[in-house]
């Protein structure tokens, strides 16, 4: 592999991101397609929490379980992407990648275009959760790597939708496909993982959620989504389309490198990446070079994201104003807990904001919030019996009793737990155009 970029034979692959989570800017796919030359559009739709949301969707309707916003983006962009030879790779399949693929085929038929859809699955271990040691899991998905995505692209897939692959894999996969990397090209894979980690959260690499925001233009112009120009040696340049908001600087890129990491080793199914080896360099306006990344063998076991239904929760937020805040709080707590004592929720959690200033010249300045969160395995316990107990105190408790909002219904909550399985327990499946490879 040649280190000198000028003698690089294979041109860099321009990989754009258009989504950092399920709910990110809907117009981003169109912006990335039209804003300048790119080769691949990728998107991350699956946070830990999203798997639970999709799991709940699927409990309601078995044909759901994928990120529906991705389908809306494709409805707008599929024809132009096919026209321009831009491939699309996203983990939007969630719990039901074949369900999503079917929808994409229907969409293409409606638009009068031919599309070859690739599907990566085999990550979903929910039906075997008991046997594999995560009983009661509502969702259990192994984090898959990038080689399946590369095979699907190789087989001609225009659009690849996956289940639970690692966030970086949607970037690493196109890199493997384009640069013909193998499992032993660990430094290249590690470089691609770092590029993937930088762009996987969308505008968090270009000035979003950035503690140096005072250096940004800070106008109303939307922040541009990031692009990684991925080279054959695994190095990359992080950039964005010209004229878009935000910036791509050493600091905005460093910010994202520090996001959701643990120790020095960043583990992926294809490679362990040494975060301590990353070198950044300024490569011009809105261009940051990422190089020098070292990889080593991936971990023996695969990580599994499991979500179990933890129970139901509900909450009320009380406003305490003026004098004797602590006495007001104490009385309310005694009253509400007594009212709940027949069938108390398994957890009652009180939190109060800081005490208000004295002699405040606004009502809000004289106020603080007292929140009561309740949890129980039984939805009924944290439903009406809880909210009624609070509301019935409206004229019967501390002076100035008021709530920030009418109490709502109980909502189910999940508990996320990482788990690990042997690789031979997980069989990745690559299906392109309905045919299993």
């Amino acid at each position: 592999m040649l280190a000198d970029e000028s003698s690089d034979e294979v041109p860099a692959l321009r990989i754009a991101n258009c989504s950092g989570f399920y709910g990110d800017r809907l117009s981003a796919m169109r912006e990335m397609l039209d804003g300048g030359p790119i080769d691949v559009i990728t998107g991350d739709y699956l946070a830990e929490l999203t798997m639970l949301i999709l799991g709940k969707d699927q409990l309601r309707d078995a044909s759901l379980g994928y990120a529906r916003t991705f389908l809306a983006q494709l409805a707008d962009c599929l024809v132009d992407a096919l026209d321009r030879g831009v491939r699309i790779v996203a983990n939007a399949g969630g719990l039901n990648p074949f369900g999503l693929a079917k929808r994409i085929d229907e969409l293409a038929a409606g638009l009068g275009v031919d599309v070859t859809v690739g599907v990566i699955d085999g990550d979903n271990l929910t039906s075997r959760a008991e046997e594999l040691g995560f009983p009661g899991a509502l969702t259990a998905n192994a984090y898959l790597g990038a080689f399946g995505i590369a095979r699907a692209l190789d087989a001609g897939a225009h659009v690849v939708v996956t289940g639970r692959v690692t966030d970086a894999s949607v970037v690493v996969g196109p890199g493997i496909w384009h640069h013909r990397w193998t499992e032993s090209d660990l430094d290249q894979l590690a470089g691609a993982v770092v590029a993937g980690h930088i762009i996987e959260c969308g505008t968090q690499a270009t000035g979003g959620n950035f503690s140096g925001f005072l250096d940004l233009p800070r106008d109303a112009h939307p922040l541009g989504f990031p692009i990684a120009e991925l080279r054959s040696d695994g190095s990359s340049v992080i950039t964005k389309h010209p004229g878009t908001g935000g910036m791509a600087t050493l600091d905005t890129v460093t910010a994202q490198l520090f996001y959701e990491i643990q120790g020095r080793q960043y583990l992926n199914p294809d490679v362990s990446t040494d975060l301590g080896s990353i070198q950044l360099a300024d490569a011009g306006p809105d261009r940051v070079l990422v190089h020098g990344v070292k990889g080593s063998k991936p971990p023996e076991r695969l990580k599994v994201a499991t979500n179990t239904l933890g129970g139901y929760r509900n909450q009320m937020e009380f406003v305490l104003v003026g004098l004797d805040i602590e006495a007001k709080e104490a009385w309310l707590r005694a009253q509400l807990e007594w009212a709940l004592s027949d069938r108390p929720p398994s957890e009652i959690i009180w939190t109060r904001g800081p005490l208000p200033q004295s002699d405040a010249d606004s009502e809000e300045g004289a106020a603080c919030l007292l929140r009561c969160v309740v949890k129980d395995p039984d939805a009924d316990v944290v439903g009406k019996p809880f909210t009624a107990a609070g509301v019935e105190l409206a004229l019967a408790s501390y002076p100035g009793f008021t709530l920030t909002a009418p109490p709502g219904r109980p909502s189910p909550f999940g508990v996320y737990r990482p788990a690990y399985v042997d690789r031979d327990q997980v069989v990745e499946r690559v299906t392109v155009g309905g045919r299993e490879l």
């Binding site: 929490l49 503690s211 600091d251 910010a255 520090f258 996001y259 301590g276 933890g310 939190t351 996320y416």
Partner: protein
């Protein structure tokens, strides 16, 4: 003699030259802390050396009293000019179950940047 001179220090917000980004992984939070770019590379190197020495689990527990009973790990990444701090269990059983008012620890970094710390005058 000069080594005996007490170093001039100033009490200023930690975020005066330290950047942060925080987030969640299950019930754990991570806060990346690093020194932002400045035109003077030597001064930045001094700031980084100070930061890497300053950030310890004990210091995190002082700056973020909510973490006092939690396990805290600090992983230096000198190449990025900073350190990654992992706070175990601050989010309880994870974002969906957490009763913390910032259940994904998105603003933990901005909180720590607002705390006052003693910084050697020469680094400011």
């Amino acid at each position: 003699m000069s080594s005996q001179t007490p170093q001039a220090i100033r009490r200023v917000p930690f975020g005066t030259f330290v950047h942060a980004r925080s987030g969640d992984k299950g019930g754990n939070a991570n806060v990346g802390l690093w020194v932002g770019q400045i035109p003077e590379p030597d001064k930045r190197a001094q700031r980084i050396a100070w930061l890497l020495g300053f950030v310890t689990p004990q210091r995190i527990r002082e700056l973020l009293p909510e973490t006092v009973d939690l396990s805290v790990e600090c992983h230096p990444l000198a190449n990025l000019g900073g350190v990654n701090v992992v706070i175990e269990g601050i989010l309880g059983e994870g974002v969906a179950a957490s009763t913390r008012f910032d259940p994904q620890a998105k603003a933990l970094g901005e909180w720590i940047r607002s705390r006052l710390v003693d910084i050697p005058e020469e680094l400011l």
